[in-house]
């Protein structure tokens, strides 16, 4: 569905993403993990068209979209959420979701109807008439998800939708994400919470200091010494092995 | 055709007017650089200062240049109060609201002056208004020479305040990192008001330099406000050096345009520069920050 090849982005001499490639195959949940500052969000921004890469290509559903602005990619069926939530603060939750629904429903009444349905699906049923500014963190994350879903995407780019949620809130939202996948929406997600990644993703890429250092099924990747070192610092893998290296 | 001497004199006069422009723009850019607000009332506050200078000369016989000693502290106080008690609290920190509040303030000032003084233009007669300074073959207007030197001196004083005093350090800290400054115990709203006040004090000096050669009416500041914005945008919003260079540049451009195309088109020239810079180089020629 989505593949990025050799993406590179520099900010005034600093290389944020360095020749990174990944593929999100249709109908799967693919994960992108990596320590803080690894360049995950920059990679996402290039995939969604908010940043132009210095080198490399983005291919969506077989077509090269590297130079396309975000709104055209959205029309092709690519939707994203933002790590730092971006609600339309002055509008109600329903109106927020309706903006997304308008993409394929010009009529206001239809868009509102769709918004109701999607709001209920992600667990915002009782908040539909509230101002988006008044939602809790968990509510805002759900709203991000709902708005993106309302555009009827083929590919959903989720940027840390679970960050800032407590364990019970995470438990509530995992089945929602899985259900979206089951309807045939391809998902690529950036996630910090390893338990969720293990739980959801079939395939994981690991980005560290702008470079893709590993990929594979989550269990294998989490045992990869390179990955462990990237997260815990140099020599960590060796120390863990010496200590009897049990992973929980 | 114009003789080289006339052109040189006109350009030098432009340079000297530009120095006063620069001083006005300096206040504006300082306020922008620290508070990140566009102070639309800057022109109206200049008018207030010019009326102050005129009142002192008319009723107490104070020489316009000497009135700096009274007007600078007075405008400092007025600026402090305006930011601390009106602009800051009323605008809730949003860009759009600040713009509207300062617009409201400028309308109150303009029309308050109109109600109090009517729309007549006022001037100050001084012995030296038409005196000239000879510089080789060039004859330069005395008040403009004074304007150039005092404006440059004021810029130097402002720079010294920012670099060498505790207040200056606090201002620079707030400009750079508002939250951090607040965490180490700097009272941000006080620093904001002091910065705004310093910008207004610059206006007092500019007013004193202008009055011997210019007139004042309730709407005089309007003519200066877009010029000052042009300079600030040209020099890069928030850049002090940029404001100085931009001011001198605009003074010369205006003098050249007026000489070759007449006064009204000279004004258009400035607006066109303003539009072009905003459209094509919004970080300014010396782009400090966006």
């Amino acid at each position: 569905m989505l593949s990025v090849d050799g993406l590179t982005k520099r900010f005034s001499g600093l290389v944020a993403v360095d020749d990174a490639s990944l593929a999100a195959p249709e109908g799967r949940i693919t994960g992108l993990i990596g320590p803080n500052g690894a360049g995950k969000t920059t990679l996402f921004a290039m995939a969604a068209g908010f940043l132009t890469p210095d080198a490399g290509t983005v291919t969506f559903a077989g077509e090269d979209v590297t130079a396309e602005p975000p709104h055209l990619r959205a029309r092709r069926g690519m939707a994203r959420t933002f790590q730092i939530v971006q609600p339309f603060a002055g509008l109600t939750v329903r109106e927020n979701i309706a903006v997304g629904a308008h993409l394929h429903h010009p009529s206001r009444a239809e868009a509102m109807e769709r918004a109701d349905a999607i709001g209920k699906r992600v667990g915002l049923a009782k908040d539909l008439d509230r101002a988006a500014a008044g939602l809790t963190v968990a509510g805002r994350k759900r709203l991000e998800l709902a708005r993106a879903l309302a555009t009827q995407p083929k590919l959903l780019l989720l940027d840390e939708v679970l960050a800032g949620l407590n364990p019970s809130e995470i438990r509530d939202i995992l089945p929602v994400i899985r259900a979206i996948r089951d309807e045939g929406v391809t998902i690529l997600m950036i996630e910090h919470i390893m338990q969720a990644v293990m739980n959801l993703c079939e395939h994981v890429y690991v980005l560290a200091q702008g470079k893709m250092i590993a990929e594979g099924p989550p269990i294998e990747v989490s045992r990869d010494p390179q990955v462990v070192e990237a997260y815990l610092g140099h020599g960590a893998a060796a120390r863990m092995q010496a200590a009897g290296g049990a992973d929980a | 055709m114009y003789s080289p001497l006339i052109v040189a004199e006109a350009l030098l006069n432009g340079l000297m007017l530009g120095a006063v422009y620069a001083l006005i723009a300096l206040g504006l850019t300082l306020i922008y650089g620290v508070l990140h607000i566009v102070n639309f009332a800057h022109g109206a506050l200049l008018t207030v200062a010019m009326f102050g200078v005129w009142l002192l000369a008319e009723h107490l016989g104070v020489d316009p240049y000497l009135s700096i000693l009274i007007m600078a502290p007075a405008m400092f106080g007025l600026g402090y109060a305006a930011q601390r008690f009106v602009i800051g609290p009323a605008s809730h920190g949003s860009d759009n609201s600040i713009l509207l509040v300062t617009l409201g303030l400028s309308i109150i000032i303009e029309n308050g002056l109109l109600a109090g003084f009517r729309s007549d233009t006022r001037t100050i007669d001084t012995d030296y208004a038409f005196q000239v300074v000879e510089l080789g073959p060039l004859l330069l207007s005395f008040p403009r020479v004074v304007g150039l030197f005092v404006a440059l001196l004021s810029a130097l004083v402002l720079w010294a305040i920012l670099e060498r005093t505790d207040v200056g350090r606090a201002i620079r800290a707030v400009a750079k990192e508002k939250l951090g400054a607040a965490l180490v115990g700097i009272e941000v709203s006080h620093v904001y008001a002091v910065t705004f006040a310093l910008g207004c004090a610059c206006l007092a000096v500019a007013a004193a330099l202008l009055m011997p050669v210019f007139y004042v009416s309730p709407t005089t500041g309007r003519a200066f406000v877009l010029v000052a914005f042009t300079i600030v945008v040209l020099g890069g919003m928030g850049s002090i050096v940029g404001a100085l260079v931009g001011g001198l540049l605009i003074g010369v451009v205006e003098a050249a345009c007026s000489l070759f195309f007449g006064d009204s088109l000279g004004q258009i020239g400035i607006f066109v520069i303003f539009i072009l810079v905003l459209l094509f180089r919004p970080t300014g020629l010396f782009g400090a920050r966006q």
Binding site: - | I37, N96, L100, G112, L278
Partner: protein, 330 residues
Amino acid sequence: MSARDLLLPLIAVLVLAGLAFSGLSGTLLNLLIFMMIISLAAQGWNILGGFGGLSSFGHAAFFGTGAYTTLILQTSLGVNAWAGLVAGVLLGAAVGAGIGFLSFRSGLKGSYFALITLAFAEVLRIASNSAPITGGAAGILLPLDYGFLNLQFDDRRWFALIAILFVGAALALTRWLERSRFGAYLIAIRENEQAAQALGVDVFRVKLGAITLSAGCTALAGVLYAQNYLFVDAHVAYGPWISIEALFAAIVGGLGTMFGPLVGAVALLGLGEITKMVSGGVPGVDLLVFGAILILTVAFVPGGLMSLRQRLTGRRRPRGETALRSEEGA
């Protein structure tokens, strides 16, 4: 949009028309006409500033273009006033589209957008003050000649009625904005441009559409102004006064609401007249009061007069309330 949505604009038109024909004195009728003209200009401002969150300080550029266009066409080409009206609105809208194209392509918003619109209006003001086509500093006078085709009426109630009908049309346009996808996108851009983009909104095109509509509406106000006073010069057409009155009426009335600009224009101009009477005609007092009201509105009632009604009846915040706050300081 359904027939029901047009009910409120229709009621407004009936009430205002009833007022115009209720035997008002000449002075009051003139005030009513002026209120209608300013409310049209303000409705134009509201489309861009209220719904789109883009505060312009230069709506005079559109107002003046409408005013000059119709008078120039009538005096030099002998075109009838209605064709002049259409041409004025179209040309005003085109000026809006041009300014919008340049500004939005460069990504200008917030203070930068306000300042560049002001600069455009000032350029037009200075140019029209010296250009021959606009009659230079003397301006343009339209000879008195009553007749429907000339949009001049011996009985001024008929002119009032036409102005009221146009106000009704502008109300209906705003109602459509509140009910359409275009309007929803425009509001979404005001609230969060990046998020709107991610949802497939073509930000540039929506903004361009908004400024074109906005400019056309304000240009119509300019046409009616010129037609009412049969005169226009550089200060009247492109002077800052109209940019400011349009902005005042829209903000005080309630940004991003259908009735805000009308309510604001009626309230402000009514108050202005009272102030002038009380102060015995001291110049500037009315504008001084307006300035103070603008600051108080921004500080305490960012939703304007329309939000007061909603506060009293305990309903949720009107959308306009966030228009002022959408452009958080950089």
